[in-house]
């Protein structure tokens, strides 16, 4: 690895790791406190969270995902991810390092891996993303009743639309341009005209919930740590 650009490559890879609940990259949230790379390609990434008591299941997912993306980079000989100053740091760091999986890292306290938890929150991300895309359509004058028959491809191209498409893909929901714009994230079916107003109302509430959480988490991280994280935005 050539050191000058190596950190950029690691940080770029970490962009793909999201806080599952806030649906934002851990870099932009300010969760990456440092990244060191040896000449031989041994990488250590240190992560930090807004509080000592942040939910350990989400923390585990972020540490494990970071381990996966960094390990997969060309030229990386070893990857060590260290979660700092968290009540479950020890169990999480050791569990991820030994690839024990979640349930074995917390014997007796968890029965399953975290796939279900992750997909529950991707469903919320689909709902919130649906609100983002539909709201901008409505403010540009689209009739609310028209949304039920619109396709994803008929929504104007935008980063928000592509983000919605990407989250739908993660759940195995339809993603081609001809697929319905508004789908039930649990079933993938189009939401019919009668159900649409309530569906969109709930989508709006879900988005508000995610945004409010993100606001609180960012504020507390800032209070806990004076310096910006690597790649942190809007500090």
């Amino acid at each position: 690895m050539i050191l000058a650009s190596a950190q950029d490559r690691v940080l770029a890879a970490l962009e793909a790791v999201r806080d599952p609940e806030l649906d934002e990259p851990i870099t932009r949230l300010g969760f990456v406190s440092s990244c060191t790379i040896s000449a031989e390609g041994d990488v250590q990434v240190r992560l930090r969270l807004p509080t000592y008591f942040c939910a350990p299941n989400f923390a585990f997912l972020m540490v494990a995902d970071a381990h996966d993306v960094v390990s997969a980079l060309d030229g990386v000989r070893s990857a060590q991810i260290v979660l700092e100053e968290h009540f479950a740091s020890e169990a999480i760091n050791a569990g991820v390092a030994s690839r024990a999986g979640f349930a074995r890292s917390f014997p007796g306290e968890a029965q399953d891996e975290l796939h279900q938890l992750r997909s529950d929150f991707v469903r919320k991300a689909v709902l919130a993303g649906t609100d983002v895309v539909c709201r901008s359509l409505l403010s540009e004058g689209t009739d609310p009743s028209a949304l039920a028959s619109m396709t994803l491809g008929e929504a104007p191209p935008s980063p928000d639309r592509e983000r919605l498409r990407a989250r739908r893909a993660e759940l195995g929901l339809p993603v081609d341009d001809a697929s319905p714009l508004v789908v039930d994230p649990a079933t993938g079916y189009a939401v019919g005209g009668d159900d649409l107003p309530l569906h969109l109302r709930r989508a709006q509430s879900t988005r508000v919930g995610v945004e409010a959480n993100t606001g609180i988490c960012r504020g507390m991280l800032r209070h806990r740590y004076e310096s910006a994280g690597l790649g942190e935005e809007n500090r």
Binding site: F53, E109, S205, G209, A212, I216, G219
Partner: protein, 350 residues
């Protein structure tokens, strides 16, 4: 009472504390949790205006004089409801117990309401203690902390059979208000620990009890709203909502208030400062001055009027706790009924 532009607001702070989290109260061997807990609380204080921040030393252990000045003298509060949090695994004398609150409060007659607490894992002994606390302190409400760790057990649910024995006991003893903090119960760890389904079950099965979900379910406001809208006896406690968002994230604050006003309704939202995390003064003054930003994004939310604010700041909680409100602070009858249980908007009608 807070008077502003000729309007008089009777203020009930329905969620506040008097804790000792200083090192002298840390349980040996659990210091990292005791310290981590209070530092976590302290980070929340950072979300308030900078001029209201305290030193960590004062934050760990503030005095009776501090509290009386911050809450009543400067803070406009008429009646404050102590909500205990025991955390005896980490704090030798508890974090803030019913007894500690009452010992202090009894020197200031008429100012405080002493809520107590229970934990279904305490079995028969806990029921005896509950009865004792109601007889001793006149408690009409409890604060439940489903996330509290206990000898290896990391949390419980309102829908547990053991919990129902306590809810039955509450009804027998005249306790009417069940304040619930939906924190992250740590077991089972692989689930979303902030689930509100247990509140839903208990509220349905105990229609004569009021369930006030503190912090309006943060960090699951959406799930809370969808649940609360279907249960006439579920209320939104505004602690953390005002303190944590109004100053730090005003745009999100407006959206959260709009969502709560839509799904839960202004008759079922109750102010709580969460003192000592935040002082009530800036929260009350700021909220009375507050309105939605004047943009289209907020146009569809129910309006929050002076009458709405009077209900949220005091009249709703006064109704729940049977507190007499001075004539000049009451609302005309055509402005709705504080704490009315029929205000919830059924999902089918939304």
């Amino acid at each position: 009472m807070y008077e502003h532009n000729g309007d008089r607001y009777f203020v009930v702070d329905s969620h506040m504390h008097y804790w000792n989290a200083a090192p002298d109260n840390w349980v040996p061997g659990a210091e990292q949790y005791a310290k981590g807990w209070i530092e976590c609380f302290y980070a929340y204080m950072g979300l308030g205006p900078p001029e209201t921040h305290w030193s960590i030393e004062k934050f760990m252990k503030y005095s009776e004089d501090d509290l009386m000045k911050d809450v009543f003298e400067d803070g406009h509060v008429d009646v404050a409801v102590f909500q205990p949090t025991y955390l005896t695994e980490w704090y030798k004398e508890g974090f803030n117990t019913t007894e500690r609150n009452a010992t202090m409060g009894q020197r200031h007659p008429g100012k405080f309401i002493y809520n107590t607490r229970w934990d279904p894992r305490d079995g028969e002994e806990g029921l005896r203690q509950l009865r004792h606390n109601v007889e001793t302190y006149g408690s009409k409400g409890v604060k439940l902390y489903t996330a509290e760790w206990r000898q290896g057990s990391r949390g419980w649910k309102l829908s547990d059979p053991e919990t129902y024995k306590y809810l039955d006991a509450c009804q027998d003893l005249g306790i009417v208000n069940i304040h619930v903090h939906k924190g992250p119960t740590i077991w089972p760890l692989d689930k979303d620990a902030f689930d509100h389904a247990d509140v839903d079950h208990a509220a349905t099965d105990f229609p004569d009890l009021n369930f006030i979900v503190e912090h309006a379910g943060i960090p699951r406001i959406d799930d809370f709203c969808f649940m609360a809208t279907q249960e006439p006896n579920v209320y939104a406690g505004l602690s953390v909502v005002i303190g944590g968002l109004m100053h730090a994230r005003p745009n999100f604050f407006a959206k959260v208030m709009g969502e709560l006003a839509f799904w839960v309704g202004e008759d079922k939202m109750t102010f709580g400062s969460d003192y000592g995390i935040w002082e009530p003064k800036w929260q009350i003054e700021g909220f009375v001055d507050w309105d939605y930003p004047d943009t289209e994004a907020f146009a569809d939310y129910p309006r929050i009027t002076t009458a709405s604010k009077k209900k949220m700041l005091g009249l709703n909680a006064a109704k729940l706790y049977g507190i007499e409100v001075p004539e000049e602070c009451r609302l005309p009858e055509d402005r709705g009924t504080p704490a009315a249980s029929d205000d919830a908007r059924l999902v089918s009608g939304a």
